[in-house]
């Protein structure tokens, strides 16, 4: 750590880790409700409440991790303190209070009622306030240091602004369900296939420069091209959600063509990451686990989002698979690969730097977590995929009743429960390992760091 204000990153990342654990606990609760029809918690935490909590915590911990990493990265890139560490803490406080209010509210049917956007309007407005504080804090840091502004940080800010703007479309209540969903996708789709990709691409670029020492020029050029292609394909690609919701027929063409191209920039990111990692292995002290999570994330991002997404994006296929467990399989695979694994990679890079601990060789616990989480997630998404294929065939093709079909899918839900339990153990291990790395051993003095490349303005 070089700048004192960077310690706020640790607070964000540790909060994110704890919420991640809670998210997984609710995931397990969800799947047990799928397996055992009789639900003793039906009138306390019915499925809709446990699902809302599961997916809210997911988005919440990822946002905390990305924001924490942003605070760290911006200070690191611009070689400066953050404009106000105090504002950063106020923002975290507002976010955590909003999160608690939302989750407790769900238990008492205080609910906006759109998936992922269940937060009551007051809570959403509090989140907007926190987002404005964040943008101001980051924006002012950049403004005050515009002479050292890098393209990477500018892209990151662009992604954060887009994220905040899109969220506004999820706030109003609309009389017409089709219109409501039309804009709902501006949040859900334009987040994960737009704004979040910009944020991820710039954080990955920064991490690559940092960990592998590859030249900034080359990485920035790639990131810019990837980001443009993400938006070029992904914005009109929103149309892959406009096939069947009361929207005009022409989306069957526009949505299909543009979204089918969405995997291209994701593939570029994979190729790019792997190339730089292989090419630069020897340049700097390695952070083995950080690199492992970063590289694996690029791969699972491509599989979960690129391949699984492409598999159901054409209308001829989506007509049958829309709204089945195949969607759930893709949702888990893509979120895990693109953002969950990236968040953990960033934690492995940032937390030890903050605490000054050596990361040269990852711990045994850390490797066990890496292997168990990733393998169990693959089992989980495979089981969901098979469950989804059974569902499509019996329910959509043959016309069997919904609940009866669910009976035939039970075996695969049981596989999800077993794999999910292994994933839970992995989560405990990664939490243990990262919290250990986050503890500052020697207090105070900045750690001297060797910088092989000279950066202008340094």
């Amino acid at each position: 750590m070089r700048y004192k204000s960077q310690t706020i990153a640790r607070e964000y990342l540790v909060a994110a880790l704890l919420l991640f654990l809670l998210q997984v606990v609710f995931g397990l609760l969800n799947i047990t409700k799928y397996i055992w029809g009789y639900d003793p918690l039906l009138n306390i935490i019915p499925f809709n409440v446990s699902r809302a909590i599961h997916i809210n915590l997911l988005v919440f911990w990822l946002l905390l991790a990305l924001m924490g990493a942003t605070y760290y990265m911006v200070a690191d890139e611009l070689k400066t303190e953050i404009y106000s560490a105090k504002l950063g803490r106020v923002q975290l406080g507002i976010l955590l209070a909003s999160g608690v209010a939302a989750i407790v509210g769900y238990l008492f049917q205080w609910n906006f009622g759109m998936p992922f956007l269940e937060q009551p309007t007051v809570v959403k407005l509090a989140i907007v306030v926190a987002a404005l504080i964040f943008l101001a804090n980051i924006g002012l840091t950049m403004f005050k240091n515009h002479h050292t502004l890098t393209r990477m940080t500018a892209t990151l800010l662009g992604g954060m602004v887009m994220l905040a703007v899109m969220f506004l479309f999820g706030i109003p209540f609309m009389d017409n369900l089709s219109t409501q969903y039309y804009y709902w996708w501006w949040v859900i789709h334009l987040w994960v296939e737009g704004a979040w990709e910009l944020i991820a691409a710039s954080l990955v670029g920064w991490a690559l420069i940092k960990v592998t020492g590859v030249s900034r020029q080359r990485i920035e050029g790639w990131v810019f091209a990837e980001v443009c292609l993400v938006l070029l394909t992904g914005v009109i690609g929103t149309g892959h959600h406009y096939y069947w919701i009361g929207t005009p027929r022409y989306w069957l063409w526009w949505g299909a063509i543009f979204s089918a191209a969405e995997p291209i920039p994701i593939l570029m990111m994979l190729v790019d990451t792997v190339r730089h990692m292989l090419g630069a292995r020897t340049l700097r002290t390695v952070n083995t686990l950080g690199l492992a999570w970063l590289g694996a994330s690029a791969f699972v991002h491509f599989m979960g989002a690129g391949v699984w997404g492409f598999g159901q994006t054409l209308p001829q296929i989506n007509r049958w698979t829309h709204g089945t467990q195949i969607t759930a399989s893709h949702g888990h695979f893509a979120f895990w690969g693109a953002y969950g694994m990236l968040a953990i990679a960033l934690m492995y890079i940032i937390l030890p730097e903050l605490s000054g601990q050596s990361t040269e060789h990852g711990s045994k616990v850390g490797f066990t977590a890496f292997v168990s989480m990733n393998f169990s997630m693959i089992f989980m998404v495979m089981a969901l995929l098979i469950a989804g294929i059974v569902q499509v065939y019996f329910q959509r093709v043959l016309g069997m009743e919904y609940l009866q079909t669910q009976g035939h899918m039970r075996l695969w839900y049981e596989v999800v429960l077993v794999a999910g339990s292994v994933f839970f153990v992995g989560t405990l291990l990664v939490l243990w390992d990262l919290l250990r790395l986050a503890r500052t051993l020697p207090v105070g003095e900045p750690i001297p760091e060797t910088e092989p490349e000279a950066i202008p303005g340094d």
Binding site: G37, G113, Y182, L232, V235, F258, L398
Partner: protein, 225 residues
């Protein structure tokens, strides 16, 4: 900025404007495709209730949401109004086994609004989604009247409790050969008032069904020898 980057950047901006243009056009066409003129205060109230109870985190609607419970886009068309009303009054009465929906103790007016809302949703032009199943093949040699009866049987969810040819629920007698033990009149009476035949019956009354549907259903069942 290199030339390729400039071209990419301009193309990206252009695509974003194209998307906004298509949005304006789509919203315009959607009011006809969704019959926005039929969005009565009652329908809107139904949507409000749908969101208030967060029904969407168990159910999909228009194929979006959670996968824990059936898609309700076409429930109104498939199940009909009387069934929906009865179901919403007490979900467990219609599906005593299997996955449960909570009983929200909805008032009569709330049920009216929800049913109006589901009715409005079922008329949205969804470009033919969900696709018509290619078929549970009808029993061999079934006459068309019986086919109609079997559709009522499925639509009313009788198989939540009853089974037939090995498929369905396990709470009520198997109906594969019900025609060999029950007459049409008896079946019609059972549909109207199950408690007449068994005071403790858990079978809900289907007395509100249209007379034609009841006749077709009974014809179908007595044909199952």
């Amino acid at each position: 900025m290199p030339r390729t980057h400039k071209i990419l950047w301009i193309a990206t901006l252009f695509s974003a404007f194209a998307f906004l243009g298509m949005t304006v056009d789509s919203l315009h066409r959607m009011s006809a495709r969704t019959h926005a003129d039929q969005l009565s205060a009652q329908v809107v109230e139904g949507k409000r209730l749908w969101q208030h109870y967060d029904c969407n985190d168990c159910h999909t609607i228009l194929g979006i949401g959670a996968y824990y419970a059936p898609d309700v886009t076409k429930s109104f068309a498939q199940r009909g109004e009387p069934w929906l009303r009865k179901f919403l009054q007490n979900p467990a009465a219609m599906y005593p086994a299997g996955r449960q929906m909570p009983n929200y103790h909805l008032s009569g007016a709330q049920i009216d609004s929800l049913v109006a809302y589901l009715g409005w949703v079922s008329r949205i032009d969804t470009n033919g989604w969900p696709p018509a199943p290619e078929g549970m093949a009808p029993a061999q040699g079934a006459a068309s009247a019986e086919l109609a009866g079997s559709k009522v049987y499925l639509a009313q969810g009788c198989n939540a409790c009853h089974s037939m040819q090995g498929s369905g629920g396990a709470l009520a007698p198997d109906l594969t050969h019900v025609g060999s033990r029950r007459s049409k009149a008896w079946i019609l009476q059972q549909l109207d008032d199950p408690r007449r035949n068994n005071v403790q019956s858990i079978m809900p009354s289907f007395g509100q069904l249209a007379t034609g549907d009841k006749q077709q259903l009974a014809d179908y069942l007595v044909s199952l020898k």
